[in-house]
Symmetry: C2
Subunit: 450 residues, 2 copies
């Protein structure tokens, strides 16, 4: 069950903008979820989108702002005054507000902050701005419910009602001491079932998961998934409760991480989307292509070494793309499996066992493929038996070597603290191309003696 944006609706909205029928616009749009309005705005031009933005209330537009595509958001923000931007931010949760401020230029940033009305909220936002994006501090928010361990349940419920007013999802009530140090948690369910005079210190749960404010976001994601948590408190160096991370923040981290590994495997070095500008796409795509081109230079030189074979055994050269392609494909498969294993923390066993396994696996695959090649070279490719034999032997060797390179380069990178996903895609295919061709012609040279 999902709202579908119809062409008629878009048309109606456009017409209402044209005749400036603000009242009707408001009536129609107030009934639509902010995520859907964001999609409607994506279909309009910048002027119309900004118009709608000014018609609607800031509690609605603030939420819409978060859902917009980056370039549309940037454009709309550039048409709002610092005061108007501050009005939007006053409506948002601290981490969302901080994310938007971080996108603003340095001079506007200061102006917007000075225009924020709610001083406590402003303090929290400024506080969040100093954490790095990919840390617990960078994804946490300040909204949480906390109670003092010295209170009783009655005080706690009263306080909680006040605090919970601005929080969409409570999950857990955190218990702190007088110094704000995290001591434990209370569940909402517990509160509903405990007598009001009970002291909090008698009922709260002392054992709880938490993360340090400097922890990496992917580490937080791993812990929350492992222990199946919907929210996790964040503490500073002194153990003081400074924020909270909820599972919906983590969904984005997990998705971004998976997308990033995929992009690296495809030879894309930055987070880009199909709708980004040509310049941005080029910046993301060119580096790995240049690397692959330089690798290509080496293959040219390597083939040059075997020029002597051209006269008598020219058709050896017909097989170079086949050998290179198989080396590349096998290498990418092996590296992808290792990179996912490292990312999901599912690799076990010793390096030696992995070596034995990878060799057996690639021998099995190699022999099956080489048999197909041997038969094919005879009946379909029409080459002399000896050439068929050479490419067959070469294919098995190349597959074994390529799968070892694909397996151990990511493991090595990981050991040195480098993202193993770098060793997928163009890097692996290029190095395997070079090795594969070298092995193939070396075997040919040994057998044919050119």
């Amino acid at each position: 069950m999902e709202f579908k944006i119809s062409k008629e609706l878009i048309q109606e909205v456009k017409e209402l903008i044209e005749v400036k029928n603000d009242h009707k616009l408001e009536v129609i749009l107030n009934d639509i979820h902010h995520a859907d309005i964001a999609e409607i705005l994506d279909e309009l031009d910048f002027d119309d989108a900004t118009y709608i933005f000014k018609v609607l209330d800031s509690d609605k537009t603030a939420e819409i702002l978060l859902e917009l595509e980056d370039d549309l958001r940037e454009n709309i923000l550039s048409r709002l005054s610092p005061k108007e931007i501050a009005e939007e931010l006053d409506e948002l949760e601290t981490n969302d507000a901080a994310d938007i401020i971080a996108e603003l230029s340095q001079e506007i940033k200061a102006e917007v902050i000075s225009e924020l009305q709610d001083v406590e909220h402003a303090k929290d936002i400024v506080d969040l701005l100093r954490y790095k994006e990919d840390t617990a501090g960078g994804i946490m928010h300040k909204e949480l419910v906390k109670v003092n361990e010295n209170w009783n349940v009655l005080t706690c419920v009263k306080e909680m009602r006040i605090q919970a007013e601005n929080i969409s999802r409570v999950h857990s009530i955190y218990v702190v001491d007088d110094e704000d140090r995290l001591k434990g948690r209370l569940s909402l369910k517990d509160l509903l079932t405990t007598s009001t005079k009970t002291a909090i210190s008698d009922v709260y749960i002392r054992k709880l998961n938490y993360v340090n404010v400097d922890a990496e976001d992917v580490e937080v994601a791993r812990i929350m998934q492992k222990y199946d948590l919907e929210a996790i408190p964040v503490v500073d160096e002194l153990g003081r409760l400074v924020g909270r991370i909820t599972i919906d923040d983590i969904v984005d981290v997990i998705k971004d991480e998976a997308d990033q590994d995929y992009q690296l495997a495809a030879g894309i070095s930055q987070d880009v989307e199909a709708d980004d500008s040509i310049m941005e796409l080029t910046k993301a795509r060119l580096p790995w292509l240049v690397l692959a081109l330089l690798g290509g230079f080496i293959t040219v030189r390597v083939l040059g070494l075997f020029e002597g074979a051209m006269l008598e055994h020219g058709n050896l050269f017909f097989f170079t793309p086949l050998i290179a392609a198989m080396a590349g494909n096998v290498g990418v498969q092996s590296s992808a499996i290792i990179v996912q294993g490292l990312a999901n923390d599912t690799l076990s066993g010793s390096l030696f066992n992995r070596l034995i396994k990878e060799v057996s696996l690639s021998l099995l695959n190699g022999i099956i493929l080489a048999s197909i090649l041997f038969v094919g070279s005879h009946f379909f490719l029409d080459v002399e038996m000896v050439i068929g034999l050479i490419v067959t032997i070469a294919l098995v060797s190349v597959i074994v070597i390529a799968s070892l390179i694909g397996t151990f380069i990511p493991l090595l990178l990981d050991k040195f603290g480098i993202d193993p996903a770098l060793a997928t895609g163009p890097f692996i295919t290029t190095s395997n191309d070079i090795c594969g061709i070298l092995i193939y012609f070396s075997i040919a040279k040994m057998i044919l003696g050119f």
Copy 2:
């Protein structure tokens, strides 16, 4: 802050198993989170792991069971009697229990079900078994809190306390009519702040998101992410409330989907892990390799067409792996960007605009790369000027064609309802190898006239 398994702990556990000190084992392990115990069991042999399983209480072992690696779980279950398995399942949430039953063999399945003690629970589990794995029905659970629209808040709170006993996370209270049809929802916070005599029909929220039991799991994931939901109710064809899906179920769907796209891009056709058996890994890896090999046959034939060039312009053949590699890399980049755009629903604009953009982008990239190649071929690769010119022109053409193939094949597949991710990895590299080589030698033939 995470529990780390030490070698000493593993050693201690092993020794306690050997001397059969069940009491001490229980004392140590009861203090450790079930997800961590699962990791400890992974380090033990099957016998020891099963031993621990029989020592601990079923409320703990049931949770451990869910966290185990597939092969260890299968092994442990095979050592338990149907009655023992049923005891584990009695402790689990309905969807987790149904997932485990689905893994059992047909004959044991029936026995296990007949041994389940809690009849209501058993009914729910059997009910879940009939839904397909990748639908809302396949990932939902039966645990939820629902109240009748005709009750008042007091009855509702009482009922809710009873129902909530078995539910770890309440999120929302669903409101149904006498026929069990979903009417709306109540928030826990609302209940805390409304007078007890109020009728439910006066306070519940009528607008809510829900999904049909047949909806695809990825679609549910998309809706929950879009509307930022922590739980969504599931209804049957008659609008009756049959289950609920929470965000932690969706995290798995999102992760699996991303992993699967990544594996397809790497030429792996099934969901495998590095620690799977050689047979499983071969089954996942061989199909695309065979396809790539057959594609390789075609490149051999294509090169054979241009044999005539070998005598005078043999060094043309040195460049085939370079051209093929660049075609493959560009194609993979383009297809990955489109596949992600389709998956994240961020593609906009007409096909014609996309064509113009892709051509401009690849021309820009192609010209930069071709310039490097032209200079390199002169100073580093040592070939005649005319050969340098040919590979330069060929590279630009090949990059443009490869990026068009990479862009439009996934779009085409998507149009026909085929997973566009199939058109990444080996499929794209292989077809681009063939096209690239054909274009390169055709240009050479035109210029050199062999």
